[in-house]
Symmetry: C2
Subunit: 325 residues, 2 copies
Amino acid sequence: MAVYTDITEIDLKHFLAQYDVGELTSYKGIAEGVENSNFLLHTTKDPLILTLYEKRVEKSDLPFFLGLMQHLSERGLSCPLPLPRRDGELLGELSGRPAALISFLEGMWLRKPEAKHCREVGKALAGMHLAGEGFEIKRPNALSLEGWKVLWEKSAERADEVETGLEAEITAELAYLEAHWPKDLPAGVIHADLFQDNVFFLGDELSGLIDFYFACNDLLAYDVSICLNAWCFEKDGSYNVTKGSALLEGYCSVRPLSDEEREAMPVLARGSALRFFLTRLYDWLTTPEGALVVKKDPLEYLKKLRFHRQVSSVAEYAPAIEVAP
Amino acid sequence: MAVYTDITEIDLKHFLAQYDVGELTSYKGIAEGVENSNFLLHTTKDPLILTLYEKRVEKSDLPFFLGLMQHLSERGLSCPLPLPRRDGELLGELSGRPAALISFLEGMWLRKPEAKHCREVGKALAGMHLAGEGFEIKRPNALSLEGWKVLWEKSAERADEVETGLEAEITAELAYLEAHWPKDLPAGVIHADLFQDNVFFLGDELSGLIDFYFACNDLLAYDVSICLNAWCFEKDGSYNVTKGSALLEGYCSVRPLSDEEREAMPVLARGSALRFFLTRLYDWLTTPEGALVVKKDPLEYLKKLRFHRQVSSVAEYAPAIEVAP
């Protein structure tokens, strides 16, 4: 939940005058997104989202994020579309922050998704991977192997505060991933953060994907493994093979995974579990008590990581998804 | 800013099934109100506000608040209207909280109001006072003289931490107010918290009043004095006589203040300044550092209180508003 910057009605009016939109009738700060300030605007035409980019977002990354949403939207993916100003720019400034006006996507994220929803998520992710082809701007994944090592250096010496033996376990895990990380799989634009709150549904129908502020260039199958972690585990930490099957089958129905991608799934899933474990661990150790942010438990991802370590083949994620012999 | 309770789409669907409203297309927690959790709902018909009442609101007060909004709305005041369920009830339950569905009021609150807006606020407040006539349920003002004394007892011994001499000054002020508080002025339903964020405008036109969760029965002119404090001082603490004149003239154009009410204005304004000083002081002294709530500076209201202490007649608030000789 986040509204870091307030805006005055006068500044907002000047800002909106640069766009061809209806007349403003209300604006409310909304509790969505943890990196930016978001406002839901009502106008005499369509509702809109106004995003003010706070310090955690690199300003130099904004052309990638906004351009990507435009690119994906033009290729038929349902996602928020940044509106151009009258001068063609996608990015403006408001209350001293870079700011963009973005179409409002109706729909709700699911607090309790079922297997049928996981199937839709798989399809939509594959659709995004295909729609991302041809996008010219590149953004390397700052949260891949090299980034994990940097994060780990900052947390390693305090890791045993969380659980005894953790420092040794994660150090070994990083060494394993470095030795076994796949290098020649298909790459492209990935969402990299497709958790429940970033997928909207109307009824059981997926209405769109949002929040592309972790998107980057990386292995497409790595993005699939993030979704396995985000969508296919129960609250008690157990893996739900029905959901996993639905997600993978949904994905493959739009973009079939190659044998190499299937084979790599367990190591990719270890990597993505480690990635969220490390950022949560870092936040856990550095966020002061009582701060504005809800701290997410890093142990949830440690459990998932340990699960993936026992997996020997993609068939354990989805029995019907075999690797050709 | 506040969203204390999250709701699942499943619970929300069941809740909405009790009402005759359009189909839900989105819901967002909004950063509005400090006592409750508020969600802005889009439906296939009108947008709505869903309010979950958190612990700080007495459940036994809810029929007063919701009934009042309905009463005022039926009498033509523009304010949020609680929607009845199919069974006629205004109050339901969601996520273990009492919850109500309320019409969404378009408009924006003004971060930088001008005198012309103060005039509209005066008119609307008088309109509310007239519209409140005949409302059957009563709710005494828990934050009048007796309530101030209770609050003060909790803060007095630490008051000098805020400013040396404060304990003696406020004790004397309370004694003065107790001795001089008017008793026979016209009473009725007052808003009691008509600050900027509770008044919506579309352009320069006032579109409605919101947040009746401090409303109660008390002296009508006391409500006017709250608005003088809330709307007619500049950020540097100086009183703006142009705004004060506009507010009082606007009020009197709809409901003329009697001579007795005019005469009492300085003491009423001392009382309302003290009321906000005391709640802010209490929050200041008791809210832990780094908590979710932005602490408001009690000294702002101490300054206002000291200003009112120097005022000898209502003409100092608005030169054109004289008391008959």
